[in-house]
Symmetry: C2
Subunit: 443 residues, 2 copies
C-alpha cells in the first residue's frame, strides 16, 4: 500500500462537482468570498457501486440520515448529493420530503446529462446534509445547485478538492486522502474526504437511532474501484469506522447527522473481495488507514483545537471498560482545559477514570506521557502516587502540539485508543454565537 495524490476521484470511475447555491440564504448582494464558499456537491460513480454506510446512533437524527440509511441497505447505488449550511434536522415531514426531493432531482439531472442507457433512479442516490439544525432547506436554491452541478462533473483533483471544500462547515481546511494497493490481480485505489470540526464524538452504527450512543456532525465519503462482495464491504467499513471515526472526540456531542458512506464500483478489475479472500486483510488495512487518517485530520481541525492527544488506555478488565475510561478522560472538561494549558495534570485524569463505569483501583494506576513516535514514557503517577519526575519534564511533553497519554489500570488486558483534543477559549467563543448575527446561531 502506498499513499497517492488526490482523494475521491483517485479510484477509477468516480466523478464529482461542487457549486455555490446559497443554502444559508445570505442573498446575492453580499458576494463576499466567504459567502460564496461552495455548499453543494455531487459524487457519482459511472457504474453502479456497492454501497456501505454507517450513521449516527443519536435518536434525534436528520431526514437525510434516515433516507440514506434506508438506501444504504440496497446492493448498489450511483450517487451521493451533499450540502453544507443546513443540516435538515428537526424539520419534520417537510424535511423528509426535501431530502427525497434532493435525491429525485439528482437522479433526473444525472439521467438527463449522462444520457446513459441505465437510467439513474432516486433510489440510486444517497443524501447528506450538515449545518444548522431546525431550519427548512431553501429547496429552490438546492434544486438550482444540483442542476448546475451535474454538467460540471469530472474527475480532476481540482474538482475533488472543490467537493472537499463544499462539505466544510466550521472546518478551516479540507481533508483528503488516497491510497493504492496492488492486490488480487488488480491495482485498487481507495480515496476519501471528510468534514468535522464541532459536535464531534461519532458513535455510528449500521442501523440508525435507538442505540445508546453517548455523544459529531461528521461526514466522510470513501470511494474505491475495488471489486467487492457487498456483505464483505459492509463489514469492512464497520470495522474501519470502529477503529477510526468512532474513536475520536472533539466536544463529546454526538451529532444528529454523522454519516460515513462508502462506494465500491469494481472498475479496478481485481478478483472480487469476500470474507474468504486471502487479500481481505490487505484491503481492510488500507481502509483502516484511510479512515483513521481522515479521523485524525478531523480532530486536529476541531473547533478551537490547539492540541491533539492520543489517549492510550491499557489494563482495563475488558475492552468495554477500557473504552468507558478513555471516553471519560477524553471528554472531561477539566482534563481538556489542562491540555489546553499544556499542564500534565494526572490528578484530573485519575478523577475522570474514577467516575467512569470502568473498574479502577487507584493504588495500582500508572499515568504517563510520551511524544508521538517515541518509546520513552515519562510517568507522572505510579501506583496512584506522584513519581519523582519533575513537573518541568512532564510539561515539556504535554506542552507539545501533539502527545500521547498512557493510562494503565493494571487490572486486565482491556485496551482502547481514543484521539482527542483540548478545550480552548476559542471553542467557547466560536460556539456561543453572536445574538446580533442570527446566522451565527443554531447548528
Amino acid at each position: 500500500m502506498k499513499q497517492i495524490e488526490g482523494s475521491i476521484c483517485a479510484p477509477l470511475g468516480f466523478k464529482t462537482a461542487a457549486v455555490f447555491c446559497d443554502i444559508k440564504k445570505l442573498g446575492t448582494g453580499k458576494g463576499s468570498e466567504k459567502g460564496k464558499k461552495r455548499d453543494l456537491a455531487l459524487i457519482v460513480s459511472e457504474v453502479p457501486a456497492v454501497v456501505a454506510g454507517m450513521f449516527t446512533s443519536n435518536q434525534v437524527c436528520a431526514a437525510p440520515v434516515r433516507l440514506s440509511a434506508a438506501r444504504a441497505a440496497r446492493k448498489s447505488v450511483r450517487a451521493i448529493v451533499v450540502n453544507s449550511g443546513n443540516a435538515n434536522a428537526c424539520t419534520g415531514r417537510q424535511g423528509m420530503r426535501d431530502a427525497e426531493r434532493m435525491t429525485s432531482v439528482t437522479a433526473q439531472s444525472l439521467s438527463a446529462v449522462t444520457g446513459s442507457p441505465d437510467k439513474v433512479t432516486r433510489e440510486d442516490v444517497l443524501v447528506c446534509s450538515t449545518g444548522r439544525i431546525g431550519l427548512l432547506l431553501p429547496m429552490k436554491n438546492v434544486e438550482r445547485g444540483i442542476r448546475a452541478c451535474t454538467p460540471l462533473l469530472g474527475r480532476s483533483s481540482r474538482q475533488a478538492r472543490a467537493t472537499a471544500e463544499a462539505i466544510m462547515t466550521s472546518d478551516t481546511r479540507r481533508k483528503e486522502i488516497a491510497v493504492e494497493i496492488t492486490m488480487a490481480g488488480g491495482t485498487v485505489r481507495i480515496g476519501g474526504i471528510c468534514k468535522g470540526a464541532g459536535m464531534i464524538e461519532p458513535r455510528m452504527t449500521q442501523t440508525i437511532g435507538g442505540a445508546t450512543g453517548l455523544h459529531a456532525t461528521m461526514l466522510a465519503f470513501i470511494t474505491t474501484d475495488a471489486a467487492v462482495e457487498s456483505r464483505f464491504f459492509r463489514n469492512a467499513l464497520a470495522l474501519a469506522v470502529r477503529q477510526s471515526f468512532n474513536c475520536i472526540t472533539v466536544d463529546g456531542d454526538t451529532s444528529t447527522n454523522d454519516s460515513v458512506i462508502a462506494l465500491a464500483n469494481g472498475l479496478a478489475g481485481n478478483r472480487a473481495l469476500s470474507r474468504t479472500s486471502p487479500e481481505r486483510m490487505e484491503f481492510q488495512n488500507a481502509l483502516n488507514f484511510v479512515t483513521l487518517e481522515l479521523a485524525k485530520m478531523m480532530v486536529r481541525d476541531g473547533e478551537g483545537v490547539s492540541r491533539f492527544v492520543t489517549v492510550r488506555l491499557h489494563g482495563a478488565r475488558n475492552a468495554g471498560e477500557a473504552e468507558a475510561a478513555a471516553r471519560a478522560i477524553a471528554n472531561s472538561s477539566l482534563v481538556k482545559t489542562s491540555w489546553c494549558g499544556g499542564d500534565p495534570n494526572w490528578g484530573r485524569i485519575l478523577c475522570a477514570a474514577g467516575y467512569s463505569r470502568a473498574r479502577i483501583d487507584e493504588a495500582i494506576v500508572d499515568v504517563g506521557y510520551s511524544l508521538p513516535g517515541q518509546r520513552k514514557i515519562a510517568f507522572g503517577c505510579r501506583g496512584g502516587r506522584p513519581t519523582q519526575v519533575s513537573l518541568a519534564t512532564l510539561a515539556r511533553i504535554t506542552s507539545a502540539p501533539e502527545f500521547d497519554l498512557h493510562v494503565d489500570l493494571h487490572l486486565g488486558s482491556g485496551e482502547f485508543v481514543m484521539y482527542a483534543s483540548d478545550l480552548t477559549e476559542d471553542y467557547v467563543t466560536f460556539n456561543k454565537g453572536d445574538l446580533t448575527d442570527p446566522t451565527s446561531l443554531g447548528g
Copy 2:
C-alpha cells in the same frame, strides 16, 4: 420555617474557628492578602452529635473521604477538621496517615483546651480536604494550624463567616444559610455552609467508591440542634442531597473529594425526630431548603459561570430516563456554550437528549424557555419542529442571567430538575492553568 441570620453557629452548641496555616506553602515572605486567606477550620459540637454523611461515588477518592465515610457510620461524633489548598487525594498510604493524624491532633487539642470531662477521641473527629490532587499535606503547617485554631473556637457569626471563607478554593464568595422551625416542642435551627466552584457534578452516596457515578469537589457542612434518631437523620440527609447537591453540575466532573457532613446535637430539646414523628416532613422540608439553597449558590458561583439555567425535564418514560436526558443536556459542551451566548439553541438540546440513554421520539418533543418564577413558557420547538416564536422573543429569555429550560418528551411521567451553568471562556482560562506558575497547576 423562617430563614434567619448566620449559618453553622446559628443552632445551639456549635463552635467554629478558622486560621491561615499556609497549606499551599506559599511561604511567609509573600504575606499578600490572597496568600493569607484562611485555609484550615474546625467545626465542633459542645456535646456528642448524631452524624450523617454523603460522599463522592468516584472510585478514586481521597484519604479524608475514606476516613470520614468510615467514621460517619458511628452514632455520634464531636468535630470536623477541614482544610483547603490541598485535597490529600492520590497520596497513597501516607495520605491516609496524614488524614488520621489530622483527626488525632484535633482530638488532643480539643481535649486539652476544653478540659471537659468527656475526652474527645480521634474517632470523634471527621476530616475533609479540598484543593490540589497528588500532593502530600504539609503536616507541620496543618498541625500548627489545628493547635492555633482550637483556642479561637466560638459561636459568633463572624467566626462562622471565617470558616465559610476558609473552605473556599476557586469560589469567589462564601456560601451560608440558616433556618429556624418551631416544631415537636422546641425551636429547631439548621445551618449550613458549602464550597464548590469547579469539578462539580456531585453524585454522592452513603457508601464510598464502586458506585457508577458519572461525574465536584464540593464540601458542605450542615449543623442542627434538633434531637434526632440516627437512622432518620441519615435518611433525611440522603433525601435532601438527592434533590439538591446531586442535581447540580458546573463542568460534569465528579470530584474525588465531594462530602456533605451533617451534625445534630439535640440541644434544641425537641421530641427526638424519627421516621414515625408527625413532624418529620417539616424537618425534611427545612433540610431540603437548606441543601438546595446551598447547591444553587454553588452553581451560581461556579468557575467562570455567567448564566444559571434550571433544566426541567418532563415526560420521560421514567425518572431514571428523565435524569439521563437532563444530565446529557446540562453537560453538553455545545448546549453550555450556546447558553454562554444567550442563544436559544433548542437544536443542540434535542441533539443532547437524543444521545442520552433516555428514549425520545423527536416528532413529539417540546422545548421552551421561561424566566424564573414566571408561568409563561415561550416554545422554540413543538413536536420536534420550529415554532413561529421569533428568535428575538426566545433570546430575550435566554439572555437573562437566569432562566428555566423546559423539555417535554411526552412519553410518560418521569421528571427531573437539574441546576446547571453555562461554559465560558473564563472557565477555560481559569482551568488551563499557567505553566509559569506551578501553584496554578493540578487540583
